[in-house]
């Protein structure tokens, strides 16, 4: 790409909020239910209906605003954005044009070890439109989505490359997921992304284009690349960039023109007269701030401090239910705990298609398990043997072990007998050990564990083996 040009990009991200009911009515906010079942007269804009405000959705928007370091508008108002389209039953969308809940925030991203702040211009609350489907000559409308609470997060034009775009969107998604604010499923439309791109040779920003409804975070990065390339080519040809709306074609990896932006697109905004000012009390803001979920960055930091590898730390962050399970368990051996969760427990969950919450594993049980494993009270083999019971019964680790008749052998005199029997039977290995080959110990240990069917306390065996060998 032509290095004379600076690429500038911004993102407008819509996220559906995870509330039980809609933003301005009490019908359900449920994805995937039969078309036109989650609707009432308000969603349908029957004459005479009025909006009410979903306080929980406002709280979710407040959480997002606080987590993205925004200034909070304590006196908010809603506005009407007027336009005609079949998916908009009132003929206007209720949004926040003049007093968005959050402004002037930022999100930190990391690229190649360097941290960068991406500014958040504003976060505002609005309602989703209905879903229209077109088939042959006909169009179909599903009003279930109508009125679903949304936040739109508008970034500053601080994004300078495709990599930064991907990092920003991934970080944003991760943050909102951790806040429990949104499902952020791009494929289901609960997160939607518009990408603005411009290029310029000078400090002044060039004319930007907007690429709507980009299908994935990866694609958003691609849009920055291909759109910048296209714009530079146009400019080099002596053409001007027009303010326009484009769409991204994933197969062809290029953007195509949707429509030229009308001059001063006229939405006839005015304050929504059906909803009075909404006042957020300081005490309310503080309550929400204090109860904010621990965000991924803080969790990652803890994991690394506790000795978890960066790879495993990231795997935990990616799987929020596992990461949540480790919250408030900082006093146990997190390395063992994370290995269990990412290893056999994840395998179990995958196999049974369950979530952690659907199993009988509690934080208490995990804590107990990790302690018993780290003290050598039970072996990894025993853990594997009792895994199913751990996940599927209410019994404690101890109860399961007892009921299955697998006890760890801690009987010293019995173990010494076995240790000596193995030493006698493996003279070669003993000689190897004596001549400095440490690997021999592993082999001998394995033989002993085999003899005890894995139920010997391994650290005790190790200690006894070394003692017995030193006597020879």
């Amino acid at each position: 790409m032509n290095r004379d040009y600076q690429v500038t990009a911004g993102a407008e991200v819509h996220c559906e909020l995870k509330s039980k009911t809609k933003m301005f009515s009490d019908s359900y906010n449920n994805y995937g239910t039969m078309a036109n079942t989650n609707i009432n007269e308000i969603d349908f804009a029957y004459p005479g209906t009025l909006p009410t405000v979903n306080g929980y959705a406002v709280e979710l928007a407040l959480k997002a605003s606080l987590a993205l370091n925004c200034k909070i508008n304590k006196k908010m108002h809603f506005d009407r954005k007027n336009y005609f389209y079949p998916d908009l039953p009132k003929g206007y969308q209720i949004t926040q044009a003049r007093s968005p809940i959050g402004t002037d925030g930022y999100l930190e991203i990391e690229i190649d070890g360097i941290t960068k702040k991406i500014g958040i211009h504003d976060i505002h609350i609005e309602e989703d439109t209905s879903k229209s489907t077109h088939y042959k000559e006909k169009s179909f409308l599903d009003f279930n989505r109508n009125g679903v609470p949304l936040i739109e997060i508008v970034s500053e034009p601080d994004i300078k490359s495709d990599k930064e775009m991907v990092a920003y969107l991934e970080k944003l998604r991760e943050t909102l997921l951790y806040l429990n604010v949104s499902d952020c499923k791009i494929e289901e439309g609960s997160m939607r992304c518009d990408v603005n791109v411009s290029v310029s040779k000078t400090e002044t920003l060039g004319t930007r284009t907007e690429t709507k409804n980009v299908g994935s975070i990866h694609s958003a990065g691609m849009v920055v690349l291909v759109e910048a390339k296209r714009q530079i080519e146009e400019l080099e040809k002596g053409n001007k960039i027009q303010e326009e709306t484009r769409r991204y074609d994933e197969k062809e990896n290029k953007t195509t023109l949707m429509r030229i932006k009308e001059v001063g697109n006229d939405y006839r905004y005015f304050p929504e007269p059906d909803i009075p000012f909404l006042i957020l009390e300081d005490s309310e803001i503080e309550r929400v701030r204090e109860n904010l979920e621990v965000l991924p960055d803080a969790r990652r930091k803890t994991y690394l401090e506790k000795g978890i590898s960066l790879g495993n730390a990231n795997k935990l962050i990616q799987n929020k239910q596992l990461s949540d399970f480790l919250l408030n368990l900082e006093d146990i051996d997190l390395v063992i705990a994370s290995n269990l969760l990412l290893g056999d427990i994840s395998a179990y969950l995958n196999k049974t298609e369950k979530t952690l919450k659907e199993t009988k594993l509690t934080q208490e049980k995990l804590k107990d398990l990790v302690k018993k494993l780290s003290s050598g009270e039970i072996t990894n083999k025993v853990f594997k043997e009792i895994l199913t019971e751990l996940m599927e019964t209410e019994f404690s680790v101890q109860e399961i072990i007892s009921s299955k008749g697998i006890e760890t052998i801690n009987d010293k005199s019995y173990l010494i007998e076995i240790v000596n029997k193995i030493i006698e039977g493996n003279k070669n290995s003993v000689d190897d050990y004596k001549s400095g080959k440490d690997r021999a110990i592993k082999y001998l240990m394995g033989q002993i564990m085999k003899e005890t069917k894995g139920s010997a306390n391994p650290s005790l065996v190790n200690q006894l083996l070394l003692e017995e060998l030193s006597k020879r």
Binding site: E41, Y46, T52, P86, F270, P276
Partner: protein, 487 residues
């Protein structure tokens, strides 16, 4: 033929209580009277079958409140479940709501009987009821005259004693002005007093439902049942329960009353001014203080009203797109075609005019130049009224500048309609309560009304003055049948 509907509600209540009459007697009488006065064109839809059935069912219930079994008429922009709500528009000619407005639910809870839906200006846009798709209602005092509007049907059906109670709505005088033209009592309560849920919106920040009745006491009785915070309407107000009749009968000595100079300036018909002047004398003679004052900005109210009401209306009426309910043209060629033709054919001339002007006023920079500016001055009007209420209990003046005029007069003058409301509009702009009480007749025997304006949520005090005047004047307010008047 029975004449129960000429009796007061208290008298009717006693008869019902003693089982000397039954609700069915009232309902049948109401329908007889409506039938006899069909030419007044007060109703768009009658609820005859259901009303008769309900009346029968009420016979099994205890007569538990003053309004039990009383026939009531509802303006046709207030949603009634399963009963057509047309807003006097072709657009909603066959529209049946699937829910009751909050006020309608309250009326049903008290076992009042809904007789029908009254005629009005289309979507309440007008001041003569002549923009109705179903033709204008006629004034019972003189059938050549307008009823006023937009709640013209409700006003006329009360004036002609078809029913004792009616609901109207008032965005810029639509209860008070027709009440004045027809010689009845009409109250527009404080904005937020009554839930707007189910009232088809014209201008959301101004619309308010209110009672229209034969006398002051019955008006207060009906208001008692309509008010209250509604979780479905965020603009409805939390207030402690109160009895609006509680000050009725109390003396008005020492009451401090203001008359804005603008309200008695030469914009007002001379005969009306004389009546107001007589009223001022009467009040003074009876111990009230009456001062003439200036209220800043009220002369701008109509201009501001046009901007705010039409701006909001242009947005509120966007939902009528031919897709979900109401009129829809058959076989549209495209989406654009569906929108254009449905709205061109479904809306009347005045409605379209206001939508167009409203859209223009909110477009681009205009929103800042006009709408936002109007909101600011509106706040100034509110403040100047507030200032007046620091020194006065009530403000009075005429309700209208003219007496009800001929049905064919000024029909092509869209501005005239707003000028009719120049005295009532400032009250909506300030969100205050305002009411009309009849105070006499013109030389041609047409009613003249007094406009009483109260401070926010002081409707009880307004009823106090209104009922005092009513008692003092003791006017005969029943239009005489068959009597012809000259204009």
């Amino acid at each position: 033929m029975s004449k129960y509907l000429d009796k007061s509600i208290v008298e009717i209540h006693q008869l019902l209580k003693k089982k000397e009459i039954y609700p069915i007697d009232l309902v049948e009488e109401a329908f007889n009277r409506i039938e006899k006065n069909k030419d007044l064109n007060c109703f768009i839809t009658l609820n005859k079958e259901k009303a008769l059935k309900e009346a029968k069912e009420l016979e099994n219930l205890e007569v538990d409140n003053l309004l039990f079994g009383i026939p009531i008429a509802i303006k046709d922009n207030i949603s009634t479940k399963g009963l057509k709500t047309t807003c006097a528009s072709k657009m909603l000619e066959n529209y049946e709501p699937i829910f009751d407005a909050t006020v309608v639910q309250k009326i049903k809870d008290k076992h009042m009987i809904i007789i029908g839906k009254t005629n009005m200006d289309e979507f309440a846009m007008g001041s003569t009821s002549r923009t109705s798709y179903f033709g204008a209602p006629k004034n019972p005092w003189n059938k050549k005259k307008i009823t006023g509007g937009s709640s013209g049907g409700s006003a006329a059906c009360i004036a002609s004693r078809m029913v004792p109670l009616a609901l109207g709505s008032d965005t810029g005088g639509s209860i008070r002005q027709p009440a004045s033209y027809t010689g009845i009592v009409g109250m527009k309560p404080t904005y937020g007093r009554i839930s707007r849920y189910g009232l088809v919106a014209f201008a959301s920040s101004l619309d308010q439902i209110g009672p229209m009745t034969r006398d002051v006491y019955e008006n207060a009785l009906l208001l008692n049942e309509l008010v209250g915070r509604d979780s479905n309407d965020l603009t409805s107000a939390w207030r402690e329960e109160e009895d609006f009749t509680r000050l009725i009968g109390k003396d008005i000595k020492k009451m401090k009353i203001a008359v804005p100079n603008y309200f008695i300036s030469d914009i007002v018909n001379l005969e009306i001014r004389e009546k107001i002047s007589d009223m001022i004398t009467l009040l003074k003679e009876n111990g009230a203080t009456v001062d003439f004052i200036d209220i800043d900005y009220i002369e701008n109210a109509v201009t501001l009203y046009q901007i705010i009401a039409m701006g909001e209306a242009s947005s509120n009426l966007a939902r009528f797109d031919g897709i979900k309910f109401g009129y829809s043209i058959p076989n549209p060629e495209s989406l654009e075609d569906l929108y254009r033709k449905t709205r061109a054919e479904g809306f009347g001339k005045e409605v379209k005019r206001r939508i167009m002007v409203g859209s223009y006023l909110l477009s681009g920079e205009n929103a800042v130049t006009y709408y936002n500016k109007a909101l600011q001055i509106r706040d100034d009007i509110r403040k100047s009224f507030q200032k007046a209420f620091e020194s006065y209990d009530l403000i009075i003046g005429p309700t209208t500048t003219t007496i009800a005029y001929n049905l064919d007069q000024d029909i092509d003058d869209p501005i005239k309609s707003f000028l009719d409301d120049v005295l009532v509009i400032p009250v909506n702009m300030a969100g205050l309560p305002g009411m009309n009480v009849p105070i006499g007749f013109s030389s041609y025997q047409m009613p003249i009304g007094l406009h009483i304006i109260g401070n926010s949520f002081e409707e009880a005090k307004m009823y106090q003055l209104a009922s005092w005047i009513e008692k003092k004047l003791n006017l005969d307010l029943i239009p005489k049948e068959g009597e012809s008047h000259e204009s």
